[in-house]
């Protein structure tokens, strides 16, 4: 089976750029399609989030189909929060059948952080087990050892948190994900190049591609909010201070500057194999970041 264009670029050691879009709450997908159109030719792949922050939305797989329809390259995000192993395997089969092969395997946020706090958290599998499940399915077998009629093929990704305040247990998990067959990693948001450098020193022993996660801040207020409310994220004080220097109404512009600087440094120092830009609702500024980081030419 032919590799996805994203996988080909990973294999060719190109510096890859991915970004992500969040599906709407509701069935009006016009905004989503608009974002996809804006981004599809500027990046190497677009992730579609899976009920991000445990907020019920249009599904990732539906968004991936739209990315394909618009001529882009999707990355399906699959979390273990809402589905047991039957449903997860079924989704993977369906994805393959629609020529969606890039899959980011995640445990998923806790139900408690979302908008359906009374829902049953599933977590029948975790991210490591999901990676292994997908690799097993590629050999033509399901998790109960039954034969599959037609085996799927994936380019599997996972996430890792280089900026975690207690990194050792996260590194053990990272090792397990590598062993389980993850080929690429899109990291959680990194705000501090020192922790990224330390992580890359560790990760370079493995034959996997690391895409540094860059979260674009829209204001110092947003950064503080994320510190208080977003699982695992800590925006360092210097970044908050820099955001705070922005004139009123120009916070996002400052956030774009900071993100572009990060991307540029990562690219120039060949720190990682690529970047994953998370604009959380401000997708339209992603091309701007790439231009400033000189990853695409102005007006491209």
């Amino acid at each position: 089976m032919a590799k996805s264009s994203f996988e080909e670029k990973l294999d060719a050691n190109e510096f890859v750029v991915t970004t992500e879009v969040g599906p709407p709450k509701g069935c009006d997908v016009s905004g989503l399609v608009h974002d996809i159109d804006l981004l599809k030719d500027k990046v190497d792949a677009i992730n579609v989030t899976d009920h991000q922050s445990s907020v019920m939305r249009f599904p990732s797989i539906g968004g991936c189909l739209l990315v394909k329809e618009q001529g882009g390259e999707p990355v399906l995000q699959v979390t273990c929060r809402d589905r047991n192993r039957l449903a997860l395997q079924a989704e993977l089969l369906f994805a393959h059948s629609r020529d969606i092969h890039n899959v980011l395997c995640l445990t998923g946020d806790s139900v408690d952080v979302g908008d359906h706090k009374e829902a049953k958290p599933v977590f029948d599998l975790d991210s490591v087990q999901l990676l292994r499940t997908a690799r097993l399915m590629e050999t033509g077998t399901d998790t109960s050892g039954n034969e599959l009629k037609g085996a799927p093929q994936f380019c599997l990704g996972a996430s890792v948190h280089p900026g975690a305040d207690f990194i050792e247990p996260q590194l053990i998990k990272f090792d397990k994900k590598v062993e389980a067959g993850a080929k690429f990693f899109q990291t959680q948001g990194v705000f501090d190049l020192a922790s990224l450098r330390r992580f890359m020193q560790y990760a370079s022993q493995f034959d996997v591609k690391i895409l540094a996660g860059i979260i674009v801040m829209a204001s110092a207020r947003m950064a503080r909010y994320m510190n208080d409310n977003v699982p695992g994220i800590t925006v360092p004080q210097p970044v908050i201070d820099e955001l705070a220097t922005a004139e009123k109404g120009k916070g996002l512009q400052k956030g774009v500057e900071i993100a572009a600087r990060f991307v540029k440094t990562i690219k120039e120092e060949k720190l990682c194999h690529g970047v994953h830009i998370m604009a959380v609702g401000n997708e339209k500024i992603v091309p701007d970041i790439l231009e400033r980081a000189e990853l695409i030419s102005v007006g491209a």
């Binding site: 087990q129 948190h161 996260q170 699982p231």
Partner: protein, 227 residues
């Protein structure tokens, strides 16, 4: 032990509404220790219901009190035989097992729960109870330094922490410790970190075919991967 919390007076009052004479039955074991349904709580509830009825001017119930040693054991329920003859319903302050044991023992008697059975746990400090075991039927504590990831991790995951942990706390509740941080720290002290590096396959939920039964008198069922 089993930890429970008393239901609100309003809810209890709604459930007992159809019955005139109600026997409030406490339990002398877990429900006593966790302060949800022992002799003392039976008396307090009795007084509370009376006061509430007096205030509303609808005080037509008759209440009786009694606390058995253990509601979940049929032998201790004999003490109820004479008492239940005088009432229209039993309000049990035992756990869900106690309620059902009484219902099974007295087939024609309405039995109502007065507490919400919450979990299996222990006292962290006086008045604070923490869950410790979900009776998963396939105990992993040997591999997790004696800290249960199934109950203490909000996601019950087996291969290490999620990325949501911060300051050693859990993403689902920043007052609760992240189980996997605790497990890592204790394994490190025990020089057993390799236990965490091992891959743990998906849990076997077939060991939980509800309702579960353990038969220990004849051939003992082996634990672990059986159904």
């Amino acid at each position: 032990m089993i930890v429970a919390e008393r239901k609100s007076l309003e809810e209890i009052r709604r459930t007992i509404a159809p019955y005139e004479r109600v026997l409030i039955v406490g339990c002398g074991t877990c429900a006593t220790v966790c302060g949800a349904g022992g002799e003392r709580e039976v008396a307090l509830l009795h007084a509370g219901l009376r006061a509430m009825e007096a205030r509303s001017g609808e005080g037509w119930h008759t209440f009786l009190e009694f606390t058995v040693k253990r509601q979940c054991d049929a032998e201790f329920l004999d003490a109820l035989v004479d008492r239940v003859r005088e009432v229209d319903a039993v309000l049990s302050l035992g756990c869900g097992i106690g309620v059902q044991a009484i219902a099974e023992r007295f087939p024609t008697l309405p039995v109502l729960p007065g507490v919400n059975t919450s979990f299996m746990g222990m006292a962290k400090e006086w008045g604070v109870w923490d869950e410790r075991c979900a009776a998963c039927g396939d105990c992993r504590l040997a591999e997790t330094a004696g800290i249960c990831p199934i109950t203490r991790c909000a996601k019950g995951i087996l291969n290490g922490p999620c990325a949501g942990t911060k300051n050693g706390k859990c993403e689902a509740n920043n007052e609760m410790d992240c189980a996997w941080v605790l497990i890592y720290q204790r394994l490190e002290k025990l020089h057993r970190l390799e236990d965490m590096r091992r891959y743990y396959p998906p849990r076997n939920f077939r060991v939980i075919p509800r309702p579960r039964r353990i038969v220990s008198k004849a051939e003992v069922a082996v634990g672990g991967n059986n159904g």
